[in-house]
């Protein structure tokens, strides 16, 4: 990355792993995840694939302590999330969601500046970083003064990506970020996103139900079956040729 700027940026974006160890999640009476064992290595891109309701988003929410496991342990850099300060963990973890969730009353620039601001970077460093980030995601920095409502869906998701990466997070969590976009914009953003994440070297946990997207982005694919258990973990090539019946059915329906 470039020369460090601001308070927190002395530790330039460093990758850090996430591991799930025998994780069960029960929400009320419902078992959402059951016996999840998964290790996401530093700098690795793991795509969680599965149908709606298979527990993908839940897995993601475990990684930044939006949720704690009912049983088992989720570790970030070796430390169980239940022993971490959730606020600090989240500020070091980028998050991109399908609904984007920009603050409608904040300008685009202020949205991107959110986490650096929470981390107490100084104003000049934040301004420079916002410009840098908007350029990085392919937006004209003069759009910074607009409100999110004045942008197209694709532009808004670009802002969402810029916001997630602005504070040089150690990890990036993506919850179907391109699911609501039209096919052309989605394809364009997938390509740019892959190029971008290769450059920034961050640990990436990406949720989707789109088989093509998973094959395109993943170092490894983790397939969650409907019973909340992992049915497959492996490389995209292994996924393409897997004969596990549930994997094969899902894959062939999605290709």
């Amino acid at each position: 990355m470039r020369a460090p700027r601001g308070v927190e940026s002395t530790e330039a974006m460093s990758a850090a792993g996430v591991s799930f160890e025998a994780v069960d999640v029960l929400l009320g009476e419902r078992t959402v995840l059951s016996g999840l064992d998964l290790e996401v290595g530093p700098g690795e891109t793991v795509v969680l694939l599965g149908r709606s309701g298979s527990g993908k988003s839940t897995t993601l929410r475990l990684a930044n302590a939006l949720l704690l496991p009912t049983r088992g342990e989720v570790r970030v850099d070796g430390t169980p999330t239940r022993h971490l300060d959730p606020i600090r963990l989240r500020r070091r973890t980028g998050y991109i969601l399908q609904e984007i969730g920009l603050f409608p009353h904040f300008s685009v620039a202020r949205n991107v500046a959110l986490v650096p601001g929470l981390l107490g970077w100084d104003t000049r460093a934040i301004e420079a970083r916002v410009t840098e980030m908007l350029e990085l995601v392919g937006l004209d920095p003069t759009l910074g003064t607009r409100l999110p409502g004045q942008l197209s869906g694709g532009q808004r998701q670009r802002v969402g990506i810029a916001r997630a990466l602005a504070a040089r997070p150690e990890r990036l969590l993506c919850d179907e970020p391109f699911g609501a976009l039209d096919p052309v914009t989605r394809y364009e953003l997938q390509r740019e996103f892959r190029a971008l994440t290769e450059r920034v070297e961050t640990t990436l946990l990406f949720v989707t139900h789109d088989v093509r997207e998973a094959l395109f982005l993943a170092d490894r694919i983790a397939f969650l079956a409907d019973d909340g258990r992992l049915a497959f973990v492996g490389t995209p090539d292994a996924f393409r040729t897997s004969t596990e019946p549930r994997v094969a059915r899902f894959r062939d329906a999605g290709l």
Binding site: L66, R88, E99, G101, L102, F103, P104, L114, R163, L173
Partner: protein
């Protein structure tokens, strides 16, 4: 024409009563905001308080205003005759729209924006002050507007316990069977309500310009 001449000759008293009226409603709405807005915020944070508090302010709203003023006459300290019990009654009526709209306004923030805020590491207070309240301001203001318009109407009845205001002209007009006097109170009251509605409506739109 005859009415216009009548109003002109009573100009001084009409102005005085209008001023009393504005003061009565203004101070009541202000007090209701000071109590109601924090209450609404608390309700958004403490689901358990919702039922009892909203139920309570709802019940107050169902008491006829004349009856409420009547109940207040024998009440110690907050009651009696004059301005004080009138303000107590007006505050009580203003609470429902202000508490309810504050609560609804805070809840109306886009769930995705709220989730993103939490996931980015905002504390509950940062989320409240930077996201939920700013996004809810328009709705909160709508509650204040409603409370003010209702208050202008209810305040005319406060003359019944000697609190002054435009109701004094109306009550006198009724007892003297002089419709000109009734109108001398009713017309300014209607105009006040209209002006408050327009002015606060404008403010409300300004506060939700991001939409």
């Amino acid at each position: 024409m005859e009415l216009a001449a009548f109003l002109a000759t009573h100009r001084a008293e009409i102005l005085l009563r209008t001023w009393e009226h504005v003061w009565l409603v203004g101070i009541s709405v202000l007090l209701a905001c000071l109590v109601g807005i924090p209450t609404g915020i608390a309700l958004s944070r403490r689901p358990r308080l919702r039922g009892p508090v909203l139920g309570g302010v709802n019940v107050i709203q169902t008491i006829p205003s004349l009856a409420l003023l009547g109940f207040l006459i024998p009440a110690p300290w907050i009651g009696g005759l004059g301005t004080r019990p009138a303000i107590v009654a007006l505050v009580a009526y203003a609470l429902l729209p202000i508490v309810k709209n504050t609560f609804e306004g805070i809840r109306s923030a886009d769930p995705a924006a709220r989730e993103a805020g939490v996931a980015m590491g905002m504390t509950p207070n940062q989320l409240l002050w930077q996201v939920e309240i700013p996004l809810g301001l328009g709705v909160i203001m709508a509650g204040v507007r409603l409370a003010t318009v209702i208050g202008i109407g209810v305040a005319t009845i406060a003359a019944f316990i000697g609190a002054g205001g435009l109701g004094a002209l109306i009550f006198r007009g009724v007892s003297m069977v002089d419709s000109r006097l009734v109108l001398a109170g009713a017309i300014p009251a209607a105009l006040l309500a209209l002006a408050a509605d327009l002015g606060l409506g404008w403010l409300e739109r300004r506060l939700s310009r991001w939409r």
